[in-house]
């Protein structure tokens, strides 16, 4: 059993590499990514391929993984909607097919707390059974919602596989996601008269949550939160940056304009994230996973400024 590896999709992303490094000391690891894995640890097998290819099946057949960790979700806001959808949803559907066919005992899907979506009538802390409204205004996140829902139906259809869906809050660190990129801006644009409470988590804490979810018997949906929530302005203060408050209507217009000129990677509906609350209740993860974030708040926020983070 122990010689069966853990298969990690999206292994060459910054989070993927961190996870692979955390896993390879205690288990064999197979990375799958269409990018090349430079500075790969020697004992890690890397399969450079597109998850939509038939070849993925050979990888399952050859390695017989004991667990699959799916991080391979494309966030590139510049890729076309069709490319996005085919990669994220069709690719994931293929992956699920193989997980079922080769009876992989464990599947971990990294979703996101963004699937709930920022709404003016959100409860301060959303539990796992809150509706996934993230796609209502913000079409780019519909893929992610679809992936999450596919994983949920897989949970019921294939009881032999322990399916775990992790919904972490904004991941900060060396990762190149919207939240980290946003905090790298200087000055940081904010919306005049809005300062919502936000939750963030350091990428290393996400890795430890995934490691905990790999334990046998763990299954289900888990919100994963980092240290205490804070107002957005507090993050700006920690970074020692200036905030540039913009009226909402002006901000929305400017973002549409910049987006159509390809001058920004933030689509206009993302503004709701710095306008409304989208925070989660992580009680389940604390109780059932025994997960506690280790990186303190200030360090979590500051880690976006570092190229390599060794906290």
């Amino acid at each position: 059993m122990t010689d069966r590896p853990i298969l990690v999709t999206g292994a060459c992303g910054r989070l993927g590499k961190r996870l692979v490094r955390a896993l390879h000391r205690t288990s064999s690891v197979v990375g799958v990514d269409r990018r090349a894995f430079d500075d790969k640890p020697a004992d890690v097998v890397h399969e450079q391929l597109d998850v939509r290819r038939k070849k993925l099946k050979d990888v399952f057949r050859a390695h017989r993984p004991r667990a699959v960790v799916h991080l391979g979700i494309m966030h590139d806001p510049r890729a076309s909607a069709a490319e996005h959808h085919s990669w994220n949803v069709s690719g994931f559907a293929k992956l699920l097919e193989y997980v079922a066919q080769f009876e992989v005992p464990k599947l971990i899907v990294l979703s996101s707390a963004n699937v709930y979506g920022p709404q003016p009538d959100n409860p301060q802390f959303l539990s796992e059974d809150a509706p996934l409204l993230g796609g209502a205004r913000f079409s780019e996140i519909r893929d992610l919602v679809e992936v999450d829902i596919l994983a949920q139906s897989f949970f019921w259809k294939e009881p032999r596989t322990e399916t775990v869906i992790l919904r972490p809050v904004h991941i900060l660190g060396t990762v190149r996601n919207a939240a980290s990129n946003f905090l790298r801006l200087n000055p940081i644009p904010t919306l005049l008269g809005f300062d919502p409470m936000i939750q963030v988590i350091q990428e290393q804490d996400v890795v430890s949550a995934i490691v905990r979810a790999l334990e046998p018997q763990v299954r289900g949906v888990f919100n994963v939160a980092g240290p205490d929530p804070m107002p957005l302005s507090h993050a700006v203060r920690i970074l020692g940056k200036a905030a540039l408050p913009v009226p909402y209507t002006l901000g929305k217009l400017a973002m549409r304009r910049l987006w159509s000129l390809r001058l920004t990677s933030f689509p206009a509906p993302e503004l709701d994230h710095i306008r409304f609350v989208c925070m989660v209740d992580d009680k389940r993860a604390r109780e059932l996973l025994g997960f506690r974030p280790q990186v303190p708040l200030a360090q979590t926020v500051l880690s976006v400024l570092e190229e390599t983070w060794n906290g």
Binding site: M197, P227, A242, L244, L297
Partner: protein, 303 residues
């Protein structure tokens, strides 16, 4: 180049604003101590709070903001409305749900109950109330509400606050109560049922609260309900005093706030409406009796 210039000038303006706010804060601090006494600051230190790393609570309450909000309300409470508080000893120290009559066209009653719980109750509390969800779409308003502890009115938030041993204020009459015309004064309208299910689910004592005085602050002769509907407002009161100079100010009535003995309810919070209604009726009649007594006992509306 141009960009850095804009940023520089933006920073300069920011710096100026910051200095201005600092001076203003200092002025307000002095005024507060002057008007409300050293006692005000001593009370602040005694408020039980559970703050996170970012010195706000999980709902965004910032004691620094709340201090200024409370100070301005407290000045009204002491010097404009000269509020009298009765039954302060009835307020439990832990989780509590205040159920009050609602009146006065604008919710000054809520603000003054909040000021009373800070100024006249031991230990002083920051009361939490629920706000309409559309307020979250308003710039500055949503920010202010969140920093002074007002949360979006959804059941999950209420439950979480009580589980954190907070003091929560609700007006089960809602907008029906606050928009009452003068001839209906001190007659309670129907109560919603939500608060009772909440109290039973979280095992929270209910403290009935009667507010006397608010009904006379604005004398509304009629509520134009159909016009309000067109304008998408909760009500459209006709208030003749508005025609007078400074008529937008509420009349300087004297507020009297009565805190009743805590009421506890056991049972299944998911029980049928008829069962819950009977319990709600008990709370409603208690509040109504307290209101009647308060009106009877006062000798003057203004003194």
């Amino acid at each position: 180049m141009e960009r850095s210039l804009t940023i520089k000038s933006a920073r300069k303006v920011g710096g100026l604003l910051h200095a201005l706010v600092k001076t203003a804060k200092h002025g307000v601090d002095e005024f507060m101590t002057d008007r409300l006494g050293e006692e005000f600051n001593a009370r602040l230190a005694r408020v039980p709070l559970a703050l996170g790393t970012a010195s706000v609570d999980p709902f965004g309450l910032d004691p620094d903001w709340t201090k200024y909000a409370l100070a301005s309300v407290a000045v009204l409470h002491r010097h404009y409305f000269r509020t009298q508080v009765f039954g302060a000893e009835n307020v439990p120290q832990k989780r509590v749900l205040f159920v009050a009559n609602h009146s006065g066209q604008i919710p000054i009653d809520g603000a003054l109950i909040g000021a009373s719980l800070f100024m006249d109750v031991e230990p002083p509390r920051f009361v939490r109330a629920m706000v309409e969800k559309w307020s979250q779409t308003l710039p500055f308003v949503s920010l202010l509400f969140s920093r002074v502890g007002q949360v979006v009115g959804v059941p999950e938030n209420a439950k979480r606050l009580l589980e954190r041993e907070e003091a929560l204020l609700v007006f089960p009459e809602g907008s029906r109560g606050i928009a009452k015309t003068f001839d209906q004064r001190y007659k309670l309208t129907d109560f919603g049922l939500g608060f009772m299910r909440l109290a039973m689910e979280t095992n929270t004592p209910i403290v009935p609260v009667a507010v006397i005085g608010a009904e006379e602050q604005y004398v509304s002769v009629k509520n134009l309900a159909s016009l309000a509907k067109v304008l998408r407002m909760p009500s459209f009161p006709l208030i003749p005093q508005m025609l007078l100079p400074m008529g937008f100010m509420p009349l300087p009535v004297r507020y009297r706030i009565y805190f009743g003995e805590p009421m506890r309810f056991a049972g299944d919070p998911d029980d049928e409406d008829s069962v819950i209604e009977e319990k709600v009726a008990r709370v409603r009649s208690t509040v109504q009796a307290m209101v009647h007594r308060g009106v009877r006992e006062r000798e003057s509306v203004f003194f």
